[in-house]
């Protein structure tokens, strides 16, 4: 299994996909952190004031923005799995490892481990921007207590979403379909539809987006699970997708 994980790392780091997604994720985390800090304390169109620099509400919200980059880690995982089909390398991959479940397991592990330093860089960018910008505005947040908990939650979410990406890729096999499907699901189905229909809105906390919010959200802390429950739920979604994918999609004929 160790050699399969290393093979996956070689695959990952011998094309530039990871670099593009890492830079994108850092830009996203840094950009959101800057926006959030820039608008801190201002009053929005709805008359509600955003929490000001120096408040714990601001600090936790500003440290949670890395969680927005989970979508890029999700794409990283999806590409990692589906490129085998897109570029037909599934053939040599499954020739070397005929037990295909081992390939999927190795990818889950390889992407989880690769997402640890990638996620750390994203978090570091977030922290750097917040410390410098908020410091310039008068109150650099401390890296202790709840602030640290929020950062750790965002970091874990980044890692878990890479795992979910591999699982979705195994299930759907089609790269473009998997990416578009995942984005539409996260931003349209979960983001708008489910929360807009009161009858099914309580379901939200059990869904991937709700579980992600449970891990990091601080502002609209409505009806959500505990952070650790959210993390377990997300890992569960990733593994279930990977297992179903292995059983019903990956084992199909490679033609």
């Amino acid at each position: 299994m160790i050699r399969l994980v290393r093979a996956e790392w070689t695959k990952l780091f011998t094309t530039r996909v990871w670099l593009g997604l890492l830079l994108g994720a850092c830009a996203m985390a840094g950009g959101f952190a800057a926006l959030f800090t820039g608008f801190a304390g201002r009053t929005g169109n709805d008359g509600q004031a955003l929490p000001d620099v120096g408040t714990s509400a601001y600090e936790q919200a500003a440290f949670a923005v890395s969680a927005n980059a989970t979508v890029l880690l999700l794409i990283l995982g999806i590409i990692g799995m589906t490129q085998e089909y897109r570029h037909r390398t599934a053939t040599p991959t499954f020739l070397v490892t005929p037990r295909r479940g081992r390939v999927v397991a190795a990818k889950l592990l390889a992407y989880a481990l690769a997402a640890v330093p990638i996620g750390l860089l994203v978090i570091a960018t977030n922290v750097l921007v917040v410390e410098i910008y908020a410091g310039a505005r008068g109150a650099a947040p401390s890296l202790t207590g709840d602030n640290l908990r929020v950062l750790a939650g965002a970091w874990a979410a980044l890692v878990i979403y890479a795992v979910i990406g591999v699982g979705i890729g195994a299930l759907l096999r089609n790269q473009v379909g998997a990416i578009v499907g995942a984005l539409v699901y996260l931003f349209v189905v979960e983001g708008i539809v489910i929360r807009a229909i009161p009858a099914i809105a309580p379901l939200f906390k059990w869904l991937p987006g709700g579980a992600l919010q449970a891990m990091t959200a601080t502002l609209d802390a409505t009806d959500l699970l505990d952070p650790w429950q959210g993390a377990l739920l997300l890992i569960g979604y990733g593994l279930v997708a990977a297992i179903l994918g292995t059983l019903f999609a990956v084992r199909r004929d490679i033609t």
Partner: protein, 327 residues
């Protein structure tokens, strides 16, 4: 990497292999054996089920029935498949990854030293291009990279699906020599598919011919030559054909009268026919052995077995117009 295990002879046995895609029976009850130390040509027209068969042999597709084994073990049960079987199927690699890195991926997965990547690149003549993106490779270079991938584990068995596709004449020449070397000097088991007999005629020792998913013929190339109608048939032309026919029949040969004073004599050599005619004082105007070309035999064996036969008049009569686009 010339470990003794790599030279262990491995026999490939295919038994009762069947596979349908919907209503189309791609492969029906197919069985054959591939022997170590020889190059076996797996021949048949396009759509005869060759690729499907090879992919089932390699565990990439699931047969509806039947087995394919390597010294008794199916592919999926081989403890180290990359060190037992090397396969060249459709060329598959990430276009943004260099050829060398592509090979290193499979070194890692198969537990081979990374230095194998450079060794096989040299072996197939790609050492110079190894660090370039594989997406920029020519068709011939892609085939060489696929071959390099197959050779990584120094496997005793090589399975190649239409490896000559995309190679230039020089490349085909090189491939022929390379495959013969792998089988005859290194004792490997080599199975190479092609839809063109001419392409592999000089390379293969044995042939497995399939048509419409069924076995048509399994034989050595000599058996194929001699077992065909033409073998042992002598054509002789004489102004005294009737008397010659009687003389030859009296000597036990089967003689058929063809037009224009030509006799077709089965089961004799030209020398025998000539000396009998001389002994009987019969004048001869022509005496020759009828050698039926292998291509012709192959065409006769597979005629009408294409899955998607095109009914163009030329294609049904002239074997040399077999699809050549892929060459």
């Amino acid at each position: 990497m010339s470990s003794p295990s790599a030279r262990q002879p491995v026999r490939v046995e295919v038994r009762g292999l069947s596979k349908s895609f919907g209503a189309v029976r791609a492969v029906s009850d197919l069985g054959f054996t591939v022997e170590p130390g020889s190059v076996t040509g797996f021949l048949g027209p396009n759509g005869a089920g060759k690729t499907t068969t090879l992919r089932m042999v390699l565990g990439l597709e699931r047969p509806d029935a039947g087995t394919a084994t390597f010294n008794g073990a199916p592919y999926a049960s081989l403890p180290e498949p990359a060190r037992t079987v090397g396969a060249v199927l459709e060329t598959a690699f990430h276009p943004a990854r260099s050829g060398r890195n592509h090979l290193r991926v499979y070194c890692r997965a198969a537990g081979l030293p990374l230095s194998r990547a450079d060794e096989v690149l040299t072996e197939v003549g790609l050492a110079e291009a190894g660090r370039r993106r594989a997406g920029g490779y020519s068709l011939g270079m892609r085939q060489r990279l696929a071959l390099a991938t197959a050779l990584l584990g120094d496997p005793p068995v090589l399975v190649l699906d239409e490896p000559a596709n995309g190679l230039d004449p020089e490349g085909i020449q090189w491939l022929r020599g390379f495959l013969r070397h792998l089988a005859h000097e290194q004792g490997r088991t080599v199975l190479v598919s092609s839809h063109l007999l001419a392409e592999v005629e000089q390379t293969v020792d044995r042939v497995v011919i399939v048509g419409a998913g069924r076995l048509v013929r399994e034989a050595s190339i000599e058996q194929l030559r001699s077992g065909a109608d033409g073998a042992g048939t002598v054509l002789v032309r004489s102004p005294d054909a009737d008397r010659l026919a009687d003389v030859l029949r009296a000597a036990g040969s089967a003689v058929t009268r063809e037009d224009d004073g030509v006799l077709a004599v089965a089961g004799s050599t030209p020398a025998e026919v000539g000396s009998r005619a001389f002994a009987a004082g019969i004048e001869l105007h022509e005496l020759r052995a009828q050698t039926s070309g292998l291509e012709e035999i192959y065409f006769e064996l597979t005629a009408g077995r294409e899955q998607f036969a095109a009914h163009s008049p030329a294609a049904t009569t002239d074997p040399t117009t077999e699809p050549e686009a892929a060459r």
